[in-house]
Symmetry: C2
Subunit: 453 residues, 2 copies
């Protein structure tokens, strides 16, 4: 029995769920196994066994058995960086210089509209979009994060919720002192099985050294992930260099901020020495390619990160700067872009990119022991992709297919913690229509008020 | 009455089809009109009228009236460069250096498998994928192009079919003389209303000056589009420079090959002077971003092409080098990539990219008078995108939504030449299941034989 099971898990022969007859079972485990005609057996939210479909069917009985003939079964995708509540601001304005977009669109809209109800609703909306496109775990940063947790628990998605920290009045903490108070309250009072609390320092240009240090100490006290946007723009790197004589990574290193429980987001502007430091510390990095392109920040050197063996995941960033939450689409872009950008078609192979979206992403955000691959004892977070559409034929190599040809709409089944969340393309854990109606109503108000400014 | 109607079209008040109650009718016409609660009235394959839904409904009766509440209606997308039959080779191998991929995978597979039946079947498969993702017109180049025409006519897609020309034995012309003979036969005997014949010189490194000249003369004799891959790789540009002292564009210019009926594909490696020449001649250019990235050819300077006002379209290239035929996805990538690559978030706005995928693409391939926008008198090639999914909410700006957030799977209705081809997400012009079964069977053979090599 795998060491991944809790000690009191026990041995069983009537299970909760068997997913069988799978055309290609993609494990994303260390041996990169692909099992044709495979099956996964699930009990109490965990993978109890997996392997050849006929063997699994002969070995166990289960309360539900589902044939996935015509499907790929694989681990759920990990969106390692997102601001889920911002879906309500998606598409308000695009194609603008960053400072205009932020100061004239995003900041005024946020100051008027970010409140408990909109954070909750925006998060629900984002989680529905993510789940329907195969994401089973998110890593978030925003305000009123207890509402993000509430939405995640309601819809049944796994994740990490990072309460935002800035040296400015924020919608949920009008003064700095109250900010740490509420941050600590968030860490101490979040007890969800599915969503871990975290703190998210916005950036080095919005948080002082004292603020990032105090935030990290709070995270350490509660065993929580510390997150920060880092080296996103050339301007940021220059600014930190100018003020401190150090690169953003060196600055965090000197503050003793970097360890396995720190997650740096973006990393577009990193030196070789920066990468060495991050590698030595085991610090995670998140690549947000589409956002970095859309906001014209530049292109991170992902192929070098992978060569060095850094802990790397893929993130969509917030829906206002992308403008979608489609991790599968992001993977396809990652696989293609770096080849063209660095003029080497062997970079970012389909296998590497598949791992980025699954097991490597899980490791980067600190959940690699629990999720990210289909292995006995791990949490049963998995998705089934239909391979019956014209774009899935031929299918010579399922890994190539997933990365280069598959679409978010191929995701027809999603299980998180063994629970069915999407069946036959429909979300079953929530009344989607009702939620969308409310999101439409609120967004009409947001749009109207903005026009009238 | 619009001048676009044929002279004998007449005035009618009972029409074939009215598409009404459209949330956003995106015309892509010169005035870039967006009509909320719009309608399009269709007769004999053409747009008879369009405008406010209530007015159109009051003005006409029709054999069929369809409410598109909850949809965007827009012109069908133009895939300005594709090798449709190659879908059967999609995903055979990826992530390889170009010369290995071509010499060890693509060329041996083509020499064994390219024949009438596979060209027909591969084309059908590609057309189904394209239509289901909103493409209503293609511009192709390959061998046995009469089979491409046959497949296009069968499924009901519009397009241009370019018979391939090379100074090597090809699957359909074992000797050079027979090549021109069959090329002329193709031009003279193709009389489809929907698919125009064309010739496609593979490239300057595979066709001599005499061959490209003779090919262009044949095209001129038949009023056909002359197509060529041009300046795709740095190697190609250097090679042509080395052999002729001229850039690929200058070389064609000196041969008097460039005019409004020539279409150059790729253009990754063009000089300023090259762009001036192409602009002066009114020659079309096709941007194949995803293929250029995946094969590590580089990034064409699309923003400069647009600034200069060149005739530009978007192409997916063949499904073996992309590996999908999703023009909407390609548009999203185009809109984002150039911002990041050139570090300017105002480049390639959503509006510009939408036009690239529709009216500009139509003009580039010489069909701008007939298709590419929804205007009275033009052919009724249009698509309806559902805006009821979570990723379509909020929807502050339909243009931003189409380019940055919409997915191929949002395409639920497709009409080409006024005929319904997709209804409620299902292809109605073909028995899809039967075709896919045959494509699966052939691809299993292709895969097996390749493994045994």
């Amino acid at each position: 029995m795998s060491q991944k099971f809790p000690k009191d898990f026990g041995v069983h022969d009537i299970l909760d769920l068997i997913l069988c007859d799978v055309d290609y079972l993609i494990t994303c485990s260390n041996d990169l196994a692909i099992i044709q005609n495979g099956a996964v057996a699930i009990l109490k939210g965990r993978i109890y066994d997996l392997g050849d479909s006929e063997e699994i069917k002969a070995r166990y009985r289960a309360r539900e058995t589902l044939s996935l003939k015509g499907y790929i079964l694989m681990p759920g995708l990990i969106n390692a960086h997102v601001h889920a509540p911002m879906s309500l601001f998606r598409g308000l304005a695009d194609d603008l210089p960053l400072e205009v977009w932020l100061s004239e669109v995003i900041f005024p809209t946020e100051s008027k509209w970010v409140k408990k109800e909109t954070v909750y609703l925006g998060s629900l909306l984002s989680f529905c979009e993510m789940i329907l496109s195969g994401v089973t775990c998110f890593c978030d940063g925003y305000f009123f994060e207890e509402e993000v947790v509430r939405a995640a628990v309601e819809v049944g998605i796994r994740g990490i919720a990072g309460q935002g920290i800035l040296d400015f009045p924020t919608p949920d903490a009008p003064s700095s002192d109250r900010m740490f108070e509420r941050a600590e309250r968030f860490l101490s009072s979040t007890h969800s099985e599915m969503v871990r609390p975290s703190l998210f320092c916005h950036a080095l240009y919005t948080c002082s050294a004292a603020t990032v240090k105090r935030t990290k100490e709070l995270c350490q006290a509660y065993g929580a992930l510390f997150q920060i946007h880092l080296a996103e723009t050339e301007w940021e790197r220059s600014k930190v260099l100018e003020l401190t004589g150090k690169s953003p990574v060196e600055f965090l290193e000197d503050l003793a901020l970097l360890d396995e429980n720190t997650l740096c987001v973006h990393g577009v502007w990193l030196s070789d020495e920066d990468l060495n430091i991050l590698n030595d510390r085991g610090t995670g990095l998140v690549h947000c390619l589409e956002s970095n392109l859309k906001l014209a920040s530049g292109v991170a050197n992902l192929p070098l990160w992978l060569e060095r063996g850094l802990k790397v995941g893929i993130g969509t960033d917030g829906p206002a700067s992308n403008n979608n939450l489609d991790v599968l689409g992001e993977m396809g872009m990652v696989a293609k872009l770096h080849k063209g950008f660095r003029r080497d078609p062997t970079l970012c192979s389909a296998w590497e990119v598949l791992k980025l979206g699954t097991i490597l992403g899980a490791r980067a955000i600190g959940l690699g022991e629990e999720i990210g691959s289909l292995e006995v004892g791990k949490r049963a977070d998995c998705i089934a992709l239909s391979i019956s559409e014209p774009h899935a034929i031929p299918l010579y190599n399922p890994i190539s297919h997933i990365v280069y040809s598959a679409k978010a709409s191929d995701v027809k089944y999603v299980w998180i913690d063994g629970k069915p969340i999407v069946r036959d393309g429909r979300l079953v854990s929530l009344n989607l229509e009702e939620m969308l109606k409310e999101a439409r109503r609120i967004s009409q108000e947001i749009g109207k008020r903005r026009e009238s400014v």
